[in-house]
Amino acid sequence: MKTPIFAAFLLILSAFAFQQETIYSGKEGTVKFESNAPLELIIANSKQLTGLINTEKRTFVFKVKTSSFQGFKNSMQEEHFNESYMESDKFPSSEFKGKIIEETDFRVPGTYQVRVKGLLTVHGVEKERIIKAKVTVKNKQISIESDFDVLLADHEIKIPKIVEMKIAETIRVNININMQPKS
């Protein structure tokens, strides 16, 4: 008599647990960008990348504070970055949200090369992007790594002619984040 009840309880529990594991979140992911211009190399990174993934619906959202980037060569560089180009006061964060195209089963551990499609919002300007990412599922964690380019003109980030040789038109971006099931 107790066995069926216990089995039902386990079933409900597992279902609940399963349901819980479709949402993954991460808080301390890293975003690194690199501007490789003929006269200057600018590298900066942030460790405040946050994100959510719904593995069932295959949707996601990632966000980073613009002002959280550090590692500039000097404070002037950082100041120009925040005030002149990214206008951090007006556009405090950059965001990427969308869906995962490949119908990957993230319940199965492994490493997957997927493409994600969504709206990348930088400097307040949205741009539809398809970006490749490597997704590693291991120990109920999802690690995501991706390298992609961002064309500054796509997000209306204007580079004055005088500094054309110091700032690249295309910025190389790398993200890395570990995500756990959201409790």
Binding site: I101, E102, R115, K117, I130, L151
Partner: protein
Amino acid sequence: MRFRPCFSWFKIPFFGIIILLSVCLSFQVSAQTLKKAGLGFGRKNCKINCFTQDLQGNIWIGTNQGLFCLNGLTHSLFDVSKGMGSNQITSVCISADQTVWAGHNNGKVSLVKNQVVTAFRQKDSSDHNPVSTILEDIHHNIWLATYGNGIYVVKKSGISRLHSDNGLNDNFIYTLYEHPDGSVWAGTDAGICVIREDKKELEQRFNTLSMKDGLFDNIVKKICKGPEGRVYVAMQDSGICYFDPSLKTFRKHLSFRNWNFGVVNDMLPDVTGFCWVASQKEGLLKLSLSDKVYTRPVYINTHQNLTNKNIHCLFMDFEHNIWLGTNSEAFFYSPGHIELLSKKDGLPSNKIYAFCLDHKGNRWISSDSGLTKIAYDAMGKPVIRQYFHQKFPSPVQIMSIYEDQEKFLWLGTFGNGVFRLDPESGKSTSYTSKNGLANDNVLSIAQDASGNLWFASLGGGASKGRLINGKLVCTHFTTADGLGNNYVYSVFADSQNRLWFATDGGGISCFRNQKFTTYNKGVIGSNVVYSICEDQNRNIWFSNAETGVYRYDGKKFELFGAKTGIRDLSPSILVRGKNNDIVVAHNGGIEVLRKVGNKNIQAIPFSFPESEEEFEPSLNATFRQDNGDVWIGTDQGLIRFSSQKEITDDVAPKISITGIKLNLQEHSLVGTHEFSHSANHLVFDFMGIYHKNPMHVRYRFHLDGFEKDWSPETESRFVSYPNLPPGKYTFQVKASNGAGNWSKPASYSFEILPPLWQRWWFLLPSLSLLGFLVYATIKYRLRRIEHEKTMLEKVVKERTTEILDQKQIIELKNKSITDSINYAKRIQEAILPTHEVVASLIPDSFIFYSPKDIVSGDFYFITDAESIEGEKSVVIACVDCTGHGIPGGFMSMIGYSLLSQIIREKQITEPAEILNQLDVAIRAALRQEDTSLGFSGQRDGMDISICCIVPNKSAVRFAGAHRPLYRVKKDEPEVEEWKGNKFSVGGLRASQDLEAQFTSHTFEYLKGDCVYLFSDGYADQFGGSDKKKFMTRRLRELLIEIHDQPMELQGQSLATEMDQWKGQLDQIDDMLVIGIRL
């Protein structure tokens, strides 16, 4: 005249340094044919999203600043100010009814037709997903694909939506394509969704082609039709593939495999066997669609105009121009015959001395910067190496490049002999006049069928050489051996194993069977020959410095010069092109000698690209590729010329009639085609769209029904026809692209209606009515006339009867009157003296008495008389009473009676007294003093001439009232006249004559004298040829003439004379002439 190239030459020791140049870009296609689309001066950052073209040829461009419409000359813009849903145009399509459908990024759809913008309201207005693609299928349904909300299908019956909830595999639609089988293919993130709208069952309605079906990538960005009916699919990361219907799977062409060009933004497979690809990573590429031969990609990404790699969209128009849309501008590329490579395209220099393509397709270019080798890696990217580039002490000037049968390159130089270059290793060996050559200036190199190399030199004649153990062993030939001249510009080995030498001053020499045969100016027009080639028929062609081009068929030389159309008669370049074309190049451009149809060989001209400076082809800087393309080195760069007919050559402009004005007022083209007679001033506007060369478009027009012939060519885009008469017309206009290709005419038929009064439905009844009225009027008139005639006849009859009656009466009365008058005449004659009395009283006399009427107003009175004193005389009176006829008769009766009374009873014989007495008596008898009788009675009187002959005194006494007496003496032919008084007896008298008395005249006579008394009747008679009066003068002459005749005869003479004088004329008065011989 020696040829002196326009470059200097130095001698420099050789060493080869290999310079590897990294990715470079655009060595393959000329920038000259890429033009900016005219979106307006000063317009910046205009991001191009889509293109399409309407039937009239206008190009519609969807941008982030609105929708542009370009016709080659001007553009028009449709944006929010004109009613567009947004300035962001994400898709555009033209439906069969020529409505322009524009999709916006905010989900709205705008329609443009006849320059008017309306909003399409059937689509869900809450859907703000961008409209990615618009398609019209064969049933004229409109498909609106969106980024994120599926597809709307607009039919006549209404609008429906295809969504992932009702079968669509994904709501994010990149592209739509209508398959020939009627299905619509949608490119999504989940593969291709094949939609059959006509099917009702879900399984049949939607079908997915994905990686499971061989698709290389599920993210499908573009699907379009390619040559041979293939369906091409562009994917996110796997490049381009095509669907093979026979295998029912997807395949890739050779050049599409190992895709490393990044994401495909757009693609355009064309009929030439190539596919234009807009890639995110490498910009614009041209890839071969061949499955048999790998052709490396052609990069078209760096150019003076096209600096931005990021090309979003491509489009091919009717002219086969390729339209490119970037982040900032739109361009279009027109393929042409000529491509130019220059420093702008990455060449080390524009001064090209020589060119060669080796067996691997590597390009060897000699310039004033040395020798450049352009090879291509597996991806088709150029790899450049430089040789002989050092300029110090001086660069080696390589004037000729030749690949021998062992695939080594022989480089002829100016002053440095020749080099034998290993193209793989880059190592070279030098041969000069010191070790084999006759001369160090080698302009041309060839190899005969036996493997001997021939070197043509400037000054050393020609050398035949062969490598033996690494040494160049040569035999030299000069003028001593029969060569035309030791300065040899070019050597050519033909298919018959003859060697031809073009010399400077010695004509052309042919070496065969160890013997030279030289042809000079006498047969070839000039002794300076530049270039030689051979055609497919084994004819030898060469160019000279004076007369143009010659062809030698083995027997004779034929000239092709100015008459053929060659513009410069000293062309330095002559080479065989495609098929049997002969390509001639000179400073003025290029001509292709080709037989056109049944005509003789003609020179088809081509121009060099536009440049500030003139192009000067370099002697022997020419190379013919296996496909017939010709490379020509010039001082402005390297030209690649294809004589093959371009697909765009035959494309005529799209012609359309854009407007019509009636009496200078705009009239809708879709309105009525019937115009009133007053609207007969027509102006037609028309436009021929030809984007490649809009300024070259020419027009001809013709108004059928008004003009006989087509107009001459014109640039004008309008024509006016004033004062067109009523009638039916068809206006036709056609356009040409300036190269003789004319479009089919566009036409507009119309009718100018005649005025109301000229229309048949008005004229016919009007004329009929008029005719009827006329007929009726005539009939009426005729009837009336008939009636009147009848009435008249009746009246006439009556009147005639009356008249007849009256005539009868008149006749009776006339007879009665005439009888009375005749009786009166008898009475008058009775009172006149008888012949016996006259004869007794005046025996020798005549009396000519001719009354005008029956009764006469003239009478004569003759009586013997005795005066109171007892004197005896004979009184003769000739009396002319007033009037004639009855009145005269009555007067004569009165006069006779009174004369008788005066002379016989009162015994007054004095003529004057007689007249006086008679006058008193007449006046009393006629009561002429009584004014109550009226004026007419007072006029009656008598003109009398009266004489009294007193025989015993031989005297005659005379008196007359208005009448004279004539005497003609015997033997004196002269008439004496005694005039009477100038007043009558009785009648009116002038006041001074009221109391006047008549005057007597007396004269003595001799026997034989004749006296004449006469009334005025004889002298007053009209007659003669002039119908004049006889006159007293004539009477006097007559009397003189006859006076000596017997009196009886005189009387006859007077009668005869009067008859002759009078002729047929009527007698106007009584006549009385009395003649007496005393």
